[in-house]
Symmetry: C2
Subunit: 187 residues, 2 copies
């Protein structure tokens, strides 16, 4: 199956917290590693980590350096391999600009979230991914801030499991969504 | 879609390390939370955390207590809800005995791993999950120890992404496998 290039973005700002307030979440070591490894497994070209906080950007650089150049590179080269996908940016606009510079102006963000009921289906999103390069956008905390949903970008329907409980970790949601969109056909 | 009850087990011993040596890995806070939340989302009945190390069993109990009864219960009840699936056991035999006591003697372990090429397909495993209660077994570290593969239990084919890189976090693998086996049909 040939498809267009694909990127993912993990947004730490603007997102909402449990009360619905607009916040900036902290970057976690685990989100970096887990989503990088999943992205690498599914042939994703870029993993944008979005945070406007300079100290957090430095933290990301230090983690990547450890696994790309430092002790970790010898201990476990697969980690460095996955983390080579990471590009740190201050905001989603910067991620999109970088992605479009790489793959062309047709590159389109697709937003994800557990609370949207009006999104496009996985089948529609798979079709879209065949036609143009996508940037799959994931929110940390309690999800992407409402203002991002006012940009007229496509929104993917939420993952539904087996009941009403709907609190997947973003690491699990990213894995499931990538598998549904670009995973092997023969299941 | 009606199906039989389903359980998952996360094995910390016996597993192998990067050199293929038989080891016991440490329980991580994150594996507890992430896999519990994913299991809860997909209607899994039990999440067995397998470790023979008593201090680790106490650590698990302390984490669960924090989210079920302590500060965490008020702060984020969804976490406690998910962690209520966790049952700590010393070995896989104990997990299987407990699961069979709950759902009947037909309950069958299905092993998972990234390095087995001789396993049953996801379609075959979905069919199996309709017929009898399964216990999906995940390994930490570099995977389940070879001795577990000598028990004549079914083994699920590995997840394949888009290339040769095959280093999914166990948290991501559990999410993808549960989605493929029991996720909604309409994608």
């Amino acid at each position: 199956m040939s498809r267009q290039p694909l990127a993912v973005a993990l947004v730490h700002h603007p997102v909402i917290d449990r009360r619905g307030d607009r916040v900036t979440t902290a970057v976690t070591n685990l989100d970096l590693h887990d989503i990088a490894r999943t992205a690498r497994t599914y042939g994703v070209s870029r993993y944008y980590v979005v945070t406007p906080v300079e100290e957090q950007q430095l933290l990301i650089a230090r983690i990547i350096d450890h696994w790309r150049e430092g002790f970790g590179a010898g201990y476990n080269p697969d980690r460095g391999n996955a983390l080579s996908l990471v590009t740190t940016v201050a905001n989603l606009e910067e991620a999109l600009a970088d992605w479009r510079a790489l793959v062309g102006a047709a590159a389109l963000p697709v937003l994800t979230g557990a609370s949207r009921s009006d999104g496009i289906s996985f089948a529609a999103c798979r079709a879209l991914a065949q036609e143009q390069p996508l940037l799959l956008v994931f929110g940390t905390g309690w999800g992407l801030a409402p203002e991002l949903f006012e940009r007229h970008w496509p929104v993917l329907v939420p993952i539904r499991g087996a009941g009403d409980y709907n609190h997947l970790p973003v690491r699990a949601a990213a894995a499931i969504i990538l598998d549904r969109l670009v995973g092997e056909a023969g299941r």
